[in-house]
Symmetry: C2
Subunit: 109 residues, 2 copies
Amino acid sequence: MIDHPDVIRPVDHARWQPDKMGKTTLFESPRILVGLNAFEPGQVHALHAHAGMDKVYQVVEGEGVFLLEGRELPMRAGDLLVAPEGVAHGVRNPGPGRLLVLAILAPAP
Amino acid sequence: MIDHPDVIRPVDHARWQPDKMGKTTLFESPRILVGLNAFEPGQVHALHAHAGMDKVYQVVEGEGVFLLEGRELPMRAGDLLVAPEGVAHGVRNPGPGRLLVLAILAPAP
């Protein structure tokens, strides 16, 4: 969590974990959570949904497969995807590279 | 405004205007507004603040100067900046290239 407003280079804050997706919180308020999800090759964030909360994904680096309402959407750096509240979504990194994703939730969980 | 959840390539949705910053809404709900601000060289978004609303900026392409609490912060593609509620912020494109910025507001205005 970064306390003072300043320029954030997301890639510098990624947390990579060997056993599961790594999470970082870049900013959090009652209104919004700005975080990073870091996927080593083969790691996944299983399909799930949030009631009353929208999620915006953006690929920071790498390539991945985003799951949305039963569809599989390939995404690459710069691509953005919105999972509106109640819509099941997930992420999978088929590899071979790392996948870093900006994940913004509104309101914060 | 995009009605159906799908992969969004932000650069494809930029609206450039010769007279002032161009705006696009990519997604909007009561909880969040995901939009684009497109700055031709020399265009600005004057310093302003939002009560009870956080803003997340991310540079999609180009380079610009972000104003935050009286500071001037140079930013380039990929950089992220949060203007928490009540904190005055703005953007200036000194040129010579175009500047495209993702602007996320929570909750939506």
